[in-house]
């Protein structure tokens, strides 16, 4: 709730506060106090947060900002104060982040709203919200807990906000998935959402992307990979769905193993573990999703580790992927 202030707001208790847990009090005159939002008052040595005003009755939160709740006599001064906590609350309410559905109505000029799930940063001019976009909150991928599979001479850099996977050697001629995978970090998670971009990309199938790996499941060591590459001539982009029976052995996927796709600044991918089925989704904006497949959980392999890979096969240049978002829900 918005932290409010008013000038010269002073009154006295019209009745004693007889317990340290009372959640309301009455004053002789509330006219100079704010009438909405929250504000702070001091009674004797106690700071109280007033959360609602009804006539001359304040709804109060006791013992705020490290002060001790105490009883107060009728006639004690009730002084509206600008406090450290009040200033902090005021700042916290100025630039707000929440899910889009909880965006407050416009009406407080100068506020910013940063949706945790949305497309736009918004500015409140006091009458309406103004949108700036496209914008997407990113959740930095974990910086620990990744497991290498077939690292070779590939490297990983944890920048704090991204994970950068890189294969420095040019001219590889056989498939070699360099994968960084992890078991689910969030117990019971059913969706893994990732976004990545490329610093260097090659032409073989696929070059880099998201992978799901079977460890001790129905097909131990198998990978299912969703990845991207550029076409050999470099004139268009492809997305590939590819199976690997090991990090160095590809298998074709019935039905689909390659499609052109619209190159995105960020590639958004989502693996959904939906009980007996697993689904793969992709998005151009990280908000609206298109389902690409929906198959049995044990189809080809039963994934228990998830992550990112690069395959430097046929790379004429260094191949590098930056993972910028990783979220398990």
């Amino acid at each position: 709730m918005t932290e409010r202030f008013s000038n010269n707001a002073v009154t006295i208790l019209s009745a004693a506060i007889t317990t340290t847990t009372a959640t309301s009090c009455t004053v002789t005159d509330a006219t100079s106090f704010p009438t909405a939002g929250t504000f702070r008052v001091k009674i004797d040595a106690e700071i109280l947060i007033v959360t609602a005003v009804s006539g001359s009755t304040f709804t109060i939160t006791r013992g705020a900002e490290g002060t001790t709740a105490a009883t107060h006599a009728s006639g004690a001064s009730v002084i509206h104060l600008l406090t450290k906590g009040g200033m902090e609350a005021r700042v916290a309410n100025r630039f707000i982040s929440d899910i889009y559905a909880n965006k407050p109505a416009a009406g407080v000029k100068g506020r910013l709203f940063l949706p945790s799930d949305g497309l736009f940063l918004e500015y409140d001019d006091g009458a309406a919200w103004h949108q700036y976009g496209p914008y997407r909150r990113l959740k930095a991928p974990p910086q620990t807990g990744w497991i290498w599979v077939n690292q070779g001479d590939a490297t990983v850099t944890y920048t704090g906000s991204t994970v950068v996977l890189e294969e420095p050697t040019v001219g590889n001629t056989s498939p070699n998935i360099r994968a960084l995978v992890r078991p689910l970090s969030v117990s019971g998670a059913t969706t893994i959402t990732a976004a990545f971009t490329w610093n260097g990309i090659a032409s073989d199938t696929p070059c880099m992307g998201f992978c799901a790996r079977d460890v001790g499941g129905t097909a131990d060591g198998h990978f299912a990979c969703w990845g991207i590459r550029i076409q050999g001539s470099g004139t268009c982009w492809w997305l590939h769905y590819k199976y690997y029976s090991s990090a160095t052995t590809t298998e074709s996927v019935p039905g689909i193993d390659g499609r052109q796709f619209w190159p995105q600044r960020l590639c958004w991918v989502r693996q959904e573990l939906a009980g007996v089925n697993k689904r793969f989704w992709w998005s151009a904006d990280g908000v609206n999703w298109i389902k690409l497949d929906d198959v049995s959980m044990t189809n080809y392999s039963t994934p228990s580790q998830f992550g990112i890979f690069i395959d430097p096969m046929n790379n004429a240049q260094k191949v590098s992927l930056s993972l910028v978002h990783w979220e398990e829900v």
């Binding site: 000038n7 889009y100 940063l121 499609r259 151009a284 908000v287 298109i290």
Partner: protein
């Protein structure tokens, strides 16, 4: 003007003032600031908007206080008031104005949001640091495009403030559009969108902006198309039948491949011509064509579309989506 604060600034009136005057003399202006600030004289709060020597230009009786006369020698104290805090927070933390009106840097921590693009900026105390690209956008609402054409099982939703249309896949050309009534010319529409597509088949158009004549059922479409994802302008004799590139469009309907996440199309009807332009940044526009307003069709509807054919492959059919982030008619 920015609300400013100064510690321990206090003086006295150098002469008595009545309850009307807006220019007051003080014994000394030393210690006071020069921007907007508040003073308390007796019980009246005043807003000082200018300082010249020992004269303050004031707005009287602020923040619910009463205007009164004051005696020479009355204390003039600079005070931090609720109104000053509000003014500071509302105006001075996050600024919102035309880029051309951006204030000079010098107040660290401020943010500036230009109403006409292309960066959010932060004042580091000596220069504005830019963060971008980010665009001021006017997201459309699905209700403003009430008419479906060829919906099938397609969906159109308002999601997180923008409109998302997902075209049901099909083995044939299927322009699936949401439309509104064609505005009265002259007008311009700027549209920005992203496309969610795995092109497998070869639709003439994949997604973008369209105009339509509801009498003949003809469409004219501008956006991206073909397996190679070209910027295109294409005519459709109906929602399910492409009939060639727009007259005069570079490359008989194709232009360049635009490897952008965000695609901008500008449609301008000046009453005699339709002028279609494309942009990669929403600021610099490249004109594609300027045709008569009766070229191919006489529109009475305008909107956006995606083509159900774009993502179709017999054993792996995928829908095609378009997120419309910006629709500005001006």
């Amino acid at each position: 003007m920015a609300e400013l604060f100064q510690n321990l600034a206090s003086t006295t009136l150098s002469g008595s003032i009545d309850n009307v005057i807006t220019s007051i003399g003080v014994a000394s202006a030393m210690g006071f600031t020069t921007g907007n600030f508040r003073i308390l004289v007796d019980s009246e709060i005043m807003l000082v908007t200018g300082v010249s020597g020992t004269t303050f230009t004031v707005v009287r009786a602020q923040e619910g206080t009463s205007v009164t006369a004051h005696n020479s020698g009355a204390t003039v104290a600079h005070v931090l008031t609720a109104g000053a805090l509000d003014a500071h927070d509302q105006n001075d933390l996050a600024g919102y104005d035309l880029y051309a009106n951006k204030p000079a840097a010098g107040t660290p921590g401020r943010i500036f949001l230009p109403s006409d693009g292309l960066f959010i900026e932060r004042d580091n105390g000596s220069t504005w640091e830019k963060f971008g690209p980010i665009w001021p956008m006017i997201p459309p609402q699905s209700a403003n495009f009430p008419t479906w054409v060829n919906q099938g099982t397609s969906t159109c939703i308002d999601n997180k403030g923008a409109v998302y249309l997902q075209a049901a896949n099909s083995s044939n050309e299927q322009i699936r559009a949401r439309l509104q009534a064609y505005p009265t010319p002259p007008f311009t529409v700027d549209m920005a969108f992203v496309v969610h597509v795995f092109p497998y088949s070869s639709p003439s158009m994949t997604a973008g902006l369209c105009i339509r004549d509801s009498v003949s059922g003809k469409f004219q479409c501008y956006g991206v198309g073909n397996t190679d994802l070209h910027i295109r302008g294409y005519n459709y004799s109906s929602a399910t039948a492409a009939s060639g590139g727009v007259t005069g469009w570079p490359g008989s309907g194709d232009n360049h491949q635009l490897e952008q996440n965000l695609i901008w199309v500008r449609y301008y009807d000046n009453g005699s011509n339709r002028v279609i332009s494309i942009s990669a940044d929403g600021v610099t526009w490249q004109q594609m064509v300027s045709n008569s307003v009766t070229d191919y069709l006489t529109p009475n509807q305008i909107g956006f579309f995606a083509n159900g054919l774009a993502g179709y492959y017999s054993s792996f059919p995928v829908d095609t989506g378009i997120t419309v982030l910006h629709w500005s008619q001006h």
